[in-house]
């Protein structure tokens, strides 16, 4: 018989119970399978009622984030082999309300993302004919932060967000900084006013796990620390050089 591996999936079905329960499934152990393949196998062959999100199955869409053995990961990028011989614990992302099984509620992030105004802010009223030009080295200034796929693994790894849900959080701040560092953008002041509010960068205690778990190697922890430095410098500048405030 082919080798099997056990997945212990934390399920939540609000119409049946207000509690979460673990349900075990035995799936074929295949070297080329990722966790998402195993979940799709469960959905197709064993239990059609299991709910989870996924889309691209190639680490681009950021839909399939979940806790695997206690670590936030993209289930499309985590091979069964890594967790052999199992069992493998699958849970919904931490720090978010659970809608059903492995599906988390993320509208909180969407609202926060909008607050940091992650788009080009320009002082000129009309956009130029053609495009705003940028050199490759100017692109490198912010490229790392632009790789974010909004998968929410960083929020799940951040104990500050878990304890203080009003915290803007790693991805939203990193994406704000992404536009601050963009040579085409002129909205740093407007954005920093939001980023340095009570719920912004100063809530961060630099646990650093946001950067450790990021599947796209974005470094939100660095974005936050650099913002702490630059907003502090701006704060003192506004006293020492008030003529620049306008």
């Amino acid at each position: 018989m082919n080798e099997q591996i056990t997945l212990e999936v934390l399920r939540y079905r609000p119409e049946e119970s207000s509690k979460q329960i673990y349900q075990s499934y035995d799936v074929p152990f295949k070297k080329e399978w990722v966790i998402l393949d195993a979940l799709n196998y469960i959905k197709d062959e064993l239990d059609g009622t299991l709910s989870y999100r996924w889309s691209c199955r190639m680490g681009v869409c950021g839909s399939c984030g979940m806790m695997v053995n206690g670590e936030p990961v993209l289930s499309c990028a985590s091979f069964l082999e890594t967790f052999h011989p199992g069992p493998i614990r699958i849970e919904p992302l931490e720090n978010f309300p659970v809608v059903r099984d492995l599906v988390s509620e993320m509208s909180d992030f969407m609202e926060k993302l909008e607050r940091v105004q992650p788009w080009l802010i320009r002082k000129d009223e009309d956009p130029p004919e053609g495009e705003y030009l940028q050199t490759p080295s100017q692109l490198m200034d912010y490229k790392n932060y632009s790789m974010c796929i909004n998968c929410m693994l960083c929020y799940s790894a951040c104990p500050v967000y878990g304890l203080e849900p009003s915290f803007l959080g790693p991805a939203a701040i990193a994406l704000g900084q992404r536009y601050n560092l963009d040579s085409r953008d002129q909205g740093e002041k407007i954005r920093n006013a939001v980023l340095s509010e009570d719920d912004g960068i100063w809530q961060c205690t630099l646990v650093g796990e946001c950067s450790a778990v990021c599947p796209k190697d974005v470094d939100p922890a660095a974005a936050i620390q650099r913002l702490k430095v630059s907003t502090t410098v701006d704060f003192f500048k506004s006293f020492l050089m008030p003529w620049q405030n306008r």
Binding site: Q20, E94, P97, V99, L163, S166, T205, G208, A212, Q225
Partner: protein, 138 residues
């Protein structure tokens, strides 16, 4: 997520997992973080001891020799050793985090993170050495 959404009929019944008080002992990285935060107590204790030194100096030779006698008891030596280890841990992790907050450029060249850490460490060791040398020779 803040619990402030208005009641909507047929709104999904979300499940919220409460954060346990001892969340920080569930993962080694969180334990390390909390330990690092706790080392600040060692920083504070050294600052306090320094203040007591100043007070003893103001009070005169008798008070100062009383203080040094108190500080040379075994319990004080043990506490100081713990504080020293905590301070070293605090300083080393602090300098290792420096590149997170600093991006230094010379022209177009961005100084690599390891070099920033190295320069910070070297400056730290050099300044400590100079202070130590001044203490011994002056």
């Amino acid at each position: 997520m803040p619990d402030n959404h208005e009641y909507i009929k047929y709104h999904p019944r979300w499940h919220r997992t409460p954060i346990p008080v001892f969340w920080w002992i569930q993962k080694w990285v969180y334990i390390k973080f909390i330990l690092r935060e706790l080392t600040s107590i060692a920083v504070m204790s050294f600052a306090l001891v320094l203040l007591f030194h100043v007070r003893a100096l103001i009070q005169g030779p008798q008070a100062y020799s009383d203080l040094t006698e108190l500080l040379s008891t075994p319990i004080s030596l043990i506490l100081h050793s713990i504080a020293l280890i905590s301070l070293l841990y605090h300083s080393i992790t602090w300098f290792s985090l420096a590149p997170k907050a600093l991006t230094v450029r010379i022209g177009k060249w961005r100084i690599p993170d390891q070099l920033i850490i190295g320069m910070n460490m070297l400056a730290w060791i050099f300044i400590s050495f100079v202070i130590g040398w001044l203490m011994v020779t002056m």
